[in-house]
């Protein structure tokens, strides 16, 4: 069973080691080890570290969309009590760093690219002093004489092909649409979204000589070190970042952003620690947005509903020169058949804050629209929407011909439908009325690409037989502490309370970081490999083949040989660093996590208000590493789906470019009352091509299509076929049937 792996993951590891180990902790729904700290308020988040003599910085944001800062009236502000400095350094960031950039974003705060871009930092002794001074700072601007468009759909907006996605073209879509027994050609719109992680972005920066130390809230520390070093033109070796607890990220903390760079510059100038915490409004206005999208979907099917053609074209937006464009068609590439196809993303260059990754970039908005359009096709063909999906699962990825590593979509559709009671659905709309409410059901498929990324982790098996797992991997609520401990416990045969996991410090080996659902499988694979190396050493010490080594409850056994780990270690620690990088498996297979959503909604017959009454999700994402935290990831994603379907929308004022709803009172994330009991079904699966753990990503899967299921349920309830997310009351009302008419 042994296998010589290079660092890169080039062929599927079919040994399936974790099914042959004996501790029995892998996959178990164990509580998060850091849970007691979090529920007692003793986990320390970014802004909560205490340092003597720490000054407070508050960012000042532009009140124009495009132009230059001509003058900051600094002196009046410097005369205010406690004010220490007003900084407008050219190293300060104008835009946020994209995920995995590993280099500085656009810097220089004298030029204004978008409304509410940072232009200065005011530092004072206390937060109140800094805040008042920041508010009082007068700024003279010169507005741009040749501004670019504020609206992605305006005729003035320059539209380009993005660098980060390639058009997929096959056969002849026009002809397929013409020849089709059924053809759907529809245009949908989704608005911009905010990550709105509950912890605002915050950094405490301090210099120890030429070494910079940051305590902050970031998702991908190894990249963030390079980004801040590049911003400040210093050696990345001289930067240390500490972030053991991160209050959510959802993409917004992938790359370094304004407060971190500004704090570092201020701390260097003032020679004391400086803390900069963004206000909630600033986080909304200047960190990162998910682009709004306009999506044209064309579905051409034969008489049985089998797709012969599929078109998915999207217009998204970003600032000029940004490489990122919301990869809307990412899952459309592999999910359904239809060899005649055109999948294409275009990006309009506009003046709005940087567009970047928000939870499940691409699929979050692409899948909800594709799945809504599929519902339209099911209705046209007059077959069950679940059946339509099943009829359209190709044997290989269309056009490219790549094989699937594994795909649990049929199982998810069947088991989800069964658990939900899909057979109770009445296929025609406006069939079920309870008092003032129309009741309906809808479904959608879930799909999200799987990625393995470079990661390292160090595992120490201590002389006393306890284990220590160390990496700079973050836990942003995803469960890294839990699952990395479980992987080590399983591989080394230790009960979970004998494994300690230390995360979020760049003095430790570089994990994958938290993003793109790749943290668990990538860093987890590195932990697994470190443990494999330890197992080899242990088997040599015991005098057996590695394959014949059994580790359980701190005892090593092989045939008649048996020794406790502490005896076997003879007073020595074993320290190993495991590494993994993506390899040929990433090219040889189409890898994705799959699932299915089922939703029941009530739509008010008079007001058009939609309430989600219940939801079921069934998901297959390879091995489940911890059934409790994986379930929570799915739940959280589905809650995001409720928000995308019904309430979430960034609203920009097209006259001056400002974000109108820049806080949690106006940007409506789901609250307790919006979220019903949600059922989550985790399907066990093994995917050796995805990772040696046989696991795939799950952090984003729960959102990828969820809003489509709700939209389809709204149609089934009341006959309102809406193509403009979110489905707010004002959009539903005009489509409602006569509330007084007899129910058919």
């Amino acid at each position: 069973m042994s296998r010589t792996d290079t660092v890169t993951y080039d062929s599927p590891d079919t040994r399936n080691l974790l099914d042959h180990t004996r501790q029995g902790v892998i996959g178990k729904p164990l509580d998060r080890p850091e849970g007691p700290l979090k529920v007692s308020g003793s986990a320390t988040y970014s802004a909560e570290w205490k340092f003597d003599d720490c000054a407070e910085g508050v960012l000042v944001l532009a009140t124009i969309a495009q132009g230059t800062v001509q003058r900051l009236h600094k002196q009046r502000v410097l005369d205010m009590p406690g004010v220490l400095a007003v900084l407008a350094d050219e190293a300060m960031t104008r835009r946020s760093t994209q995920g995995t950039a590993g280099e500085a974003p656009v810097q220089g705060v004298h030029t204004v690219d978008y409304f509410a871009q940072p232009i200065a930092l005011v530092v004072a002794e206390t937060f109140e002093q800094a805040r008042d001074a920041a508010l009082a700072l007068e700024v003279d601007y010169v507005e741009s004489k040749s501004p670019i468009a504020l609206d992605p759909e305006s005729p003035d907006a320059e539209v380009e092909d993005p660098d980060n996605s390639e058009t997929v073209e096959g056969g002849d879509l026009e002809k397929a649409m013409h020849d089709a027994a059924f053809a759907i050609d529809v245009e949908y719109r989704t608005p911009g979204h905010a990550s709105a992680a509950m912890e605002p972005h915050a950094t405490i920066a301090q210099w120890h000589g030429d070494r910079l130390e940051l305590h902050g809230s970031y998702q991908m520390l190894a990249y963030n070190v390079k980004e801040i070093a590049d911003c400040l033109s210093i050696d990345p070796e001289k930067v240390r970042i500490i972030a053991p607890y991160v209050g959510g990220g959802f993409g917004s903390k992938l790359g370094i952003t304004h407060e971190a760079v500004a704090a570092a510059i201020a701390a260097r100038q003032l020679k004391r620690p400086v803390r900069v915490v963004m206000s909630r409004q600033q986080v909304f206005e200047t960190v990162m947005r998910r682009s709004e999208t306009r999506q044209r979907v064309r579905l051409a099917s034969d008489a049985s509903g089998k797709l012969i053609g599929l078109g998915h074209e999207a217009l998204v937006s970003n600032l000029p020169d940004e490489e990122f464009a919301e990869p809307v068609t990412q899952a459309t590439e592999f999910l359904y058949g239809g060899e005649n196809r055109l999948l294409k993303v275009e990006v309009a260059r506009i003046s709005r804050m940087t567009a970047g990754s928000v939870r499940a970039p691409g699929e979050a908005v692409g899948m909800q629209v594709l799945e809504a359009a599929m519902d339209e096709l099911a209705e046209a063909v007059d077959i069950d929407p679940v059946e339509l999906r099943k009829r359209n699962l190709p044997a290989k990825v269309p056009v490219e011909g790549t094989a699937y590593s594994s795909r649990m979509l049929v199982e998810a559709l069947d088991q989800g439908a069964e658990a939900f009671g899909w057979d109770q659905r009445r296929p025609r709309p406006c069939q079920t009325r309870e008092g003032d409410w129309w009741i309906g059901m809808g479904m959608a498929s879930a799909a999200r690409v799987n990625m393995l990324v470079p990661a390292e982790a160090r595992v120490t098996l201590k002389a006393d037989g306890a284990a220590l797992v160390e990496t700079d991997q973050t836990d942003i609520g995803t469960g890294s502490y839990a699952i990395l401990g479980q992987i080590a416990g399983e591989m080394l045969g230790l009960p979970i309370d004998r494994v300690n996991v230390v995360l979020g410090d760049t003095s430790l080996p570089a994990g994958a970081g938290s993003g793109g659902s790749f943290g668990a499988i990538s860093t987890g694979s590195a932990v697994m490999r470190a443990c494999e190396a330890i197992r080899t050493t242990l088997s040599e010490a015991l005098g057996c083949d590695t394959d014949a080594l059994d580790l359980k409850d701190g005892t090593a056994t092989s045939g008649d040989l048996s020794q406790s780990l502490s005896d076997l270690l003879g007073g020595n620690d074993i320290v190993e660093t495991g590494k993994i990088e993506p390899g040929k498996t990433a090219e040889d297979f189409s890898q994705a996590s799959y699932g299915a959503f089922f939703a029941e909604v009530a739509v008010h017959a008079f007001t058009g208000e939609t309430r989600v009454r219940r939801m079921t999700g069934a998901f297959g994402f390879g091995r489940v590493l911890n059934a409790k935290t994986a379930r929570s990831q799915c739940l959280g994603g589905m809650v995001w789906g409720i928000g995308s379907a019904l309430t979430e929308e960034l609203a920009f004022d097209l006259r001056d470019g400002h974000l109108v709803n820049h806080d949690l009172a106006e940007y409506h994330v789901p609250v307790h009352a919006d979220v019903p009991a949600i059922e989550v079904i985790l399907l066990e699966e093994r995917d050796a091509a995805a990772s040696p753990l046989q696991a795939k990503g799950v952090g984003e899967l729960g959102i990828c299509g969820a809003a489509g299921a709700i939209t389809n349920a709204i149609y089934n309830a009341c006959g309102a076929r809406l193509r403009n997310f979110p489905m707010t009351l004002d959009k539903v009302i005009p489509h409602l049937p006569d509330p007084f008419a007899e129910v058919a």
């Binding site: 509580d31 998060r32 850091e34 849970g35 007691p36 700290l37 979090k38 529920v39 007692s40 308020g41 003793s42 986990a43 320390t44 988040y45 802004a47 909560e48 205490k50 206390t126 937060f127 109140e128 008042d132 990550s195 709105a196 992680a197 509950m198 912890e199 605002p200 607890y245 991160v246 209050g247 959510g248 959802f250 915490v277 206000s279 909630r280 609520g477 995803t478 409790k628 935290t629 379930r631 929570s632 990831q633 739940l635 959280g636 994603g637 589905m638 809650v639 995001w640 806080d663 949690l664 009172a665 994330v669 789901p670 609250v671 307790h672 009352a673 979220v675 019903p676 009991a677 949600i678």
Partner: protein, 177 residues
Amino acid sequence: MALPMSRASVNGTDHALPADPRRTLLDWLREDLGLTGTKKGCDHGQCGACTVLVDGRRINSCLSLAQLHDGDTIETIESIGSADNLSPLQKAFVTHDGFQCGYCTPGQICSAKAMMQELSEGWASAVSDDVTAAPDITREELRERMSGNLCRCGAYSNIIAALEEVLADAASERADA
């Protein structure tokens, strides 16, 4: 400036209120007293992360200036239970995974504690059918009463499950007594 007599009790310890009248109760707790278990999510009364108990009632501490609390008794998450001595409510959050990132969690727990008190005192909510009757403790009631506490991680249904367990245990204890 604060009157020299301005003091409040926080988790059983008496403290002088801060001099700066702009300092919110939240910032006073976090910055001056080092009680960072209470979180700042919005500073505008929109998220509930800063929920604390003042004289037994839940409030958003970001919306209240510290100097207004002369003579008040304030309880924060730190008084509910420590990591090695969790209250039943905190334990239920752990076992039901009623959090992910954990940033909204102290606020959820403080809010839930006060909400249970409100329930036992018979307070009605916007979803109570009969505002004069003792409230039925349904999931809908719990969701309505907890809706001031946002959780972007979306742990809502797990939080409600945790609350149901604690309420059921309390009810069976009362029945046993």
